[in-house]
């Protein structure tokens, strides 16, 4: 009875089935309903923007990894997510080349300059979006109505600038002006719940984030349901604030992160110069992540002084 060369490595000898790839692909699956809806509402324009953003993100990742002489790890799916998330946050009226710029900035400045996946302090897609807002403010805030394709404002913009409300049902289904994927709250919610159900993300950030927004709207005299359903909140709360790399690692830390992001969002929305605050809230909280991680440590077993 013989055996070949035996693997002699350190315990544990079995590993869970979950991998970085499986996490990333589950996130993509969770984004699909909203992506399909974006294409349904905004047709070819949406399809092209999404396709171009994803391809640009993958290409940028591959080229930069090649230059850095690192293994081309684009099949981990993270570049696809970055491209897709960015596309979902931009206006359907955006010229394609600007989306390409956004994707390249997301990957290059948002991620690879820090050393690639795992080392970036900010959510890459949000870095790209912030760059686009500063560089192309007009195109980033020109919205079109999904029904007639005419220029319109977002529900948050309408509410803030002109005091015009939008019905809950329209907000839920996405029949409103806004960026590609931010319009249908319902489909984003379904995707987010899928991620929680699958154990990919925990509920701590989305619940504390959304909960804070709702509670603060009530206190400050705004309509909480409107606040929850409009703008980029659902996308941000389930898909961006929960980005593992850039959010705290412990439960306590994630709750603090969510509450902080909720506070900033509502303050910007109600008192700031912009109608939407999700982007800034998450980027700002990304800055605090290392500090939160430092102080929100789990309780250690037996951490009482030995006599």
């Amino acid at each position: 009875m013989e055996h070949g060369n035996l693997v002699v490595s350190s315990s544990p000898h079995i590993r869970s089935k979950e991998s970085v790839n499986s996490i990333m692909y589950n996130v993509i699956i969770a984004l699909l309903p909203a992506t399909v809806a974006a294409i349904y509402f905004f047709r070819l324009r949406a399809f092209l923007l999404i396709a171009v953003s994803i391809i640009a993100a993958i290409a940028a990742e591959a080229i930069i990894l090649k230059i850095r002489k690192k293994p081309i790890a684009i099949n981990d799916g993270s570049a696809i997510i970055t491209g897709l998330l960015l596309a979902l946050t931009i206006s359907p009226a955006m010229p394609l080349w600007m989306a390409v710029v956004g994707s390249v900035v997301s990957i290059g400045i948002g991620k690879q300059v820090y050393g690639g996946l795992g080392s970036n302090p900010f959510n890459p897609a949000l870095v790209g979006r912030a760059f686009l807002i500063i560089t192309f403010p007009v195109q980033m805030t020109t919205w079109i109505n999904p029904i007639d394709g005419l220029a319109t404002a977002t529900p948050l913009g309408l509410q803030k600038m002109e005091g015009i409300g939008t019905g809950y049902l329209e907000l839920l289904l996405g029949n409103v002006g806004g960026s590609l994927g931010e319009t249908s709250a319902l489909l984003l919610l379904i995707g987010g719940l899928y991620l929680i159900y699958k154990g990919i993300i925990r509920w701590y950030i989305p619940v504390s984030y959304l909960g804070t927004v709702a509670a603060m709207s009530l206190i400050l005299g705004s309509d909480p349901i409107f606040q929850l359903l409009s703008g980029g909140l659902m996308l941000g709360a389930f898909f961006m604030a929960t980005d593992m790399v850039t959010s705290p690692v412990t439960k306590k830390g994630q709750l603090i992160f969510g509450i902080g992001a909720g506070l900033i969002t509502i303050i910007v929305r109600l008192y700031g110069g912009y109608p939407e605050g999700v982007l800034f809230s998450i980027l700002l909280m990304n800055i605090f992540t290392p500090i939160i991680d430092k102080y929100a440590m789990p309780k250690i077993y037996g951490e009482v002084k030995s006599k």
Binding site: M1, H3, G4, L6, V7, V8, S9, S10, S11, P12, H13, I14, R15, S16, K17, E18, S19, V20, S22, I23, A73, D76, G116, L117, G118, S119, M244, V245, T246, S247, P248, V249, T250, K251, Q254, M297, P298, K299, I300, Y301, G302, E303, V304, K305, S306, K307
Partner: protein, 442 residues
């Protein structure tokens, strides 16, 4: 039934189906046994036999040196053919006594019943346990009599028997509790008497409901003994986690179970104690689960100490396919072996042969800070941080982040989606921090 548990932990697949329903069998008698003089934590034994000597079953062949040490006995009758260093499952060479069996299994004269438990004093019990060479049979192999002698000021008031068997694949303790629950209870009573305590728990994971029932039946009417169902979650059988689950007490950082007024022993150890008292037979045989996808016929066997892995595997129909890894112990904390010409020892709870499919070998990727390792760590540590401190030699930081509290359970490495070798690095960091501390003291 209320089920108890601890904080953190993870759920590796149980993989116990192959053997949990298989009754214990006696392994074929080995022709040759190789008995290491060190099978326990502590000082090695000195051989007290010489090449050419005739020995019998249960005869002492190695004398303990010092308090933290236990003697070693022959598991067969026959002739000593060599005393030399041989490879054992710890990965190094140790002095071994090699005995060629005469296949008679003649029992040594010293093996006689020690009388009834009632008639024995606490010191008698501790002495019997030491002389029988009994060590923790869950895998760590710490001398049992040492655990039974905590400093009196610790006021130990509870004994817990560990029947959790939280390591996947292994079913040795499960079968023992089903087939011989009386001895387990008897052993627990002996521990309680030796420690002069009135409370005893037997903790069993709820994936072994039949064992819980069998133990409850055996414990019925025995004063102070309670069988508790524990959630099946890894590492439920780790000492600190078991103590918390049963008593809600925490062992202070850097302390021993006795600091939580508890002593923990394995159910297998209890059964060995019962045997040593009732029949006088020292620890010369143990139950081993031989399993994994790489084995033709998985089994639970009574194996004589010193039998080679090779013989045991042959009895299980040999390998199936191309085995990738052979492990002494369970898949979470066991030790991978270079070859199979090594003996079964007192701490060998399982011989696991894993196929490629079970191993899931893959290269580590960058940490994506998912926090999974933190969530599962039963101690509440930050494995991802400890790993990076350890691998960058930042020993001060590692110590400040409690690297010494790591129980090396492997939950963090198991769960990590980036397949990082967390516990491997942490273990090294821990060893270095301890070495530094020792240096600082000296």
């Amino acid at each position: 039934m209320k089920k108890l548990t601890f904080k953190g932990g993870t759920h590796p697949p149980h993989s116990k189906k192959a053997t949990e329903k298989l009754a214990l069998e006696k392994a074929n008698a080995p022709k040759i046994v190789v008995i290491p003089m060190q099978q326990h934590i502590g000082a090695p034994c000195d051989p007290i036999v010489a090449v050419g000597d005739e020995v019998k079953v249960g005869q002492k062949i190695g004398e303990a040196k010092g308090f933290v040490s236990v003697p070693v006995h022959s598991s067969v009758s026959g002739k000593v053919t060599a005393i030399e260093p041989r490879l054992y499952s710890g990965g190094t060479k140790v002095t071994c006594v090699v005995i060629e069996s005469d296949m008679q299994d003649t029992i040594h004269e010293s093996v006689t019943s020690k009388g009834s438990l009632e008639a024995l004093s606490a010191d008698d019990i501790k002495n019997i346990i030491k002389e029988a060479g009994i060590v923790g049979m869950g895998g760590a192999a710490f001398p049992t009599h040492v655990k039974l002698a905590p400093p009196p000021e610790k006021n130990v008031d509870t004994v817990i028997l560990n029947g959790a068997e939280c390591e996947p694949y292994l079913t040795a303790d499960h079968r023992l509790m089903l087939e011989n629950p009386e001895d387990v209870v008897y052993g627990l009573q002996a521990f309680m008497k030796a420690l002069n305590v009135s409370k005893g728990y037997i903790g069993i994971e709820d994936n072994k409901m039949d064992a819980i029932e069998a133990m409850e039946k055996a414990a019925q009417g025995k004063e102070g003994i309670e069988v508790v169902a524990l959630h099946a979650k890894y590492p439920q059988g780790a000492e600190k986690q078991l103590i918390y689950a049963c008593t809600k007490r925490e062992v202070p950082s850097g302390g021993l179970p006795a600091d939580a007024r508890v002593v923990v022993n394995n159910v297998g150890t209890a059964a060995a104690v019962a045997k040593a008292i009732k029949t006088g037979m020292p620890l010369v045989e143990r139950i081993v689960t031989i399993t994994g996808e790489g084995i033709s016929n998985p089994k639970n066997l009574f194996v004589k100490i010193g039998t080679s892995f090779r013989e045991v595997i042959e009895q299980c129909g040999g390998f199936k396919g191309n085995p990738q890894k052979i492990i002494a112990g369970g898949p979470m904390m066991g030790i991978a072996q270079f070859n199979i010409d090594i003996p079964v020892i007192k701490g060998t709870s399982g011989i696991l042969t894993l196929s490629e499919n079970e191993l899931q070998l893959s290269d580590p990727l960058a940490c994506i800070k998912c926090g999974r390792c933190i969530e599962v760590c039963p101690i509440g540590l930050l494995p991802t941080k400890l790993e990076s401190f350890s691998s960058r030699n930042m020993l001060m930081e590692a110590e400040n982040y409690h690297v010494l509290d790591c129980i090396e359970c492997g939950s963090c490495s198991f769960i990590c989606p980036a397949k990082r070798r967390l516990v491997e690095s942490i273990r090294l960091g821990k060893a270095q921090v301890m070495a530094e501390k020792r240096k600082a003291k000296a």
